[in-house]
Subunit: 253 residues, 2 copies
């Protein structure tokens, strides 16, 4: 009999090739977790993550799940993982989950946070966690542009995968832009995101904040359904997966 566990993970994406496993020369977060858990189980196990974060992208709270046969409690599993994982990955919590719970398929939404600094140079202690833009942005214009992006749209213009065959329709519940001194935080809450979608959304909003695009042109960008119509891809280091959301009945075991 196997047990399904839900893992809440925090990681510094700087030194990893992203979440998703890549063959044998593996320096991914999924790969590190599977290595440690396969040793525990004495067989190959598969870890499912809710968000496939890119190389350099961080997670404040990623959700994953894994089915194990080992006779181990959630607390023991948390302790075991934190003992053997690299220090750039931290298991915040482990809970027993229902047998049918799948971290990605059951995810009802995700919140990403993008952090940047408008100052000339940001602190060296923030260099891997905040995009040093070094330029003043018009936050009000960005908020007006963001309002056009909220809602259900075909976000093909914001998808870096040219050969995406599945639906590119997604719903953005909210984009919240906060400024503290020279620092800006862009929180994006949506039901799901396409490849590079958050970074392209942020890049496009930055161009609005720089005065290179008008807020009202966002409708045209969406309508174009063409990656060329949107802005640049903001650097990975400023991006954090902040939280994965579930419906209450889907996640507890």
């Amino acid at each position: 009999m196997s047990r399904n566990f839900m893992l809440l993970l925090q990681y510094d994406g700087t030194d990893f090739d992203g979440w998703q496993k890549q063959g044998n020369t593996d320096n991914t977060i999924q790969g590190k977790l599977e290595q440690v858990l396969s040793r525990l189980e004495g067989r190959k196990v598969e870890v499912h993550g809710a968000g496939r974060t890119d190389a350099g992208v961080h997670a404040e709270e990623q959700t994953a799940n894994v089915r194990l046969q080992a006779d181990i409690t959630a607390g023991q599993l948390k302790e075991y993982l934190n003992r053997y994982l690299p220090e750039s990955i931290l298991v915040l919590d482990v809970q027993r989950a229902e047998e049918r719970f799948h971290s990605r398929l059951n995810a009802a939404g995700k919140i990403y946070t993008y952090r940047l600094d408008m100052a000339d140079k940001c602190s060296v202690f923030q260099r891997k966690y905040r995009y040093a833009l070094g330029q003043e942005l018009d936050a009000e214009a960005m908020r007006r542009a963001a309002a056009y992006l909220e809602g259900t749209h075909d976000f093909r213009s914001f998808c870096a995968n040219r050969h995406m065959k599945k639906s590119t329709v997604r719903t953005i519940e909210q984009i919240d832009i906060r400024v503290t001194g020279t620092r800006m935080e862009i929180m994006v809450h949506g039901d799901g995101f396409l490849y590079h979608m958050v970074r392209i959304l942020v890049g496009t909003l930055i161009e609005v904040g720089q005065g290179k695009r008008l807020p009202e042109t966002m409708s045209e960008v969406i309508r174009a359904r063409d990656r060329q119509a949107a802005g640049f891809t903001a650097p990975a280091g400023g991006l954090f997966l902040t939280k994965v959301l579930y419906r209450e009945e889907d996640c507890r075991g």
Copy 2:
């Protein structure tokens, strides 16, 4: 004719073998600065730093000075350094200094800040910048102990160099302990510090906060003039050189 420049530097000490140059296989902050400046000058130059921070110790604001023959303004020098230095070293400011100004010999005082987290595990994004103690501390007892350490004393008990022949008398102006949630900041302001002195002071205060030592025993620890009498050496990663202080007349060029 050479010009003396004062440099204000910020660096992430994680990946360096400390401030001070070490022979040829050099991965020190001083070494990186001298490499870049020697290329600019076309001759070997020497950079003087106010504080010789250890491996893994950070600087929020270190002061250094260098004499250059190159026909370059302070602003140009700052730009040049930031272009060629590794991204873990940031030049915050460059100013012309008086010919006789020496960043270390003229320093009137230094402020160091030690950061720790009393929570079980601190955030992965803080792991190189905050000591994850994972234990509640009695801040009030630590403040009472700190009061015994303030003032002018022979700090030989807090010196890791057993063969120190020069005076080990120093003055600590103030030790300030602040708690925010599970986070603690210990600021130490003194006229100068012995080898590992701040980290041993912090380790000793932590032991007081853990209830292993009574605040009043600090006088005995000082009197012992023996490293064995003091506490453990707190890990390097939590320590920051926060500011180097000068008398106004000593620093401007």
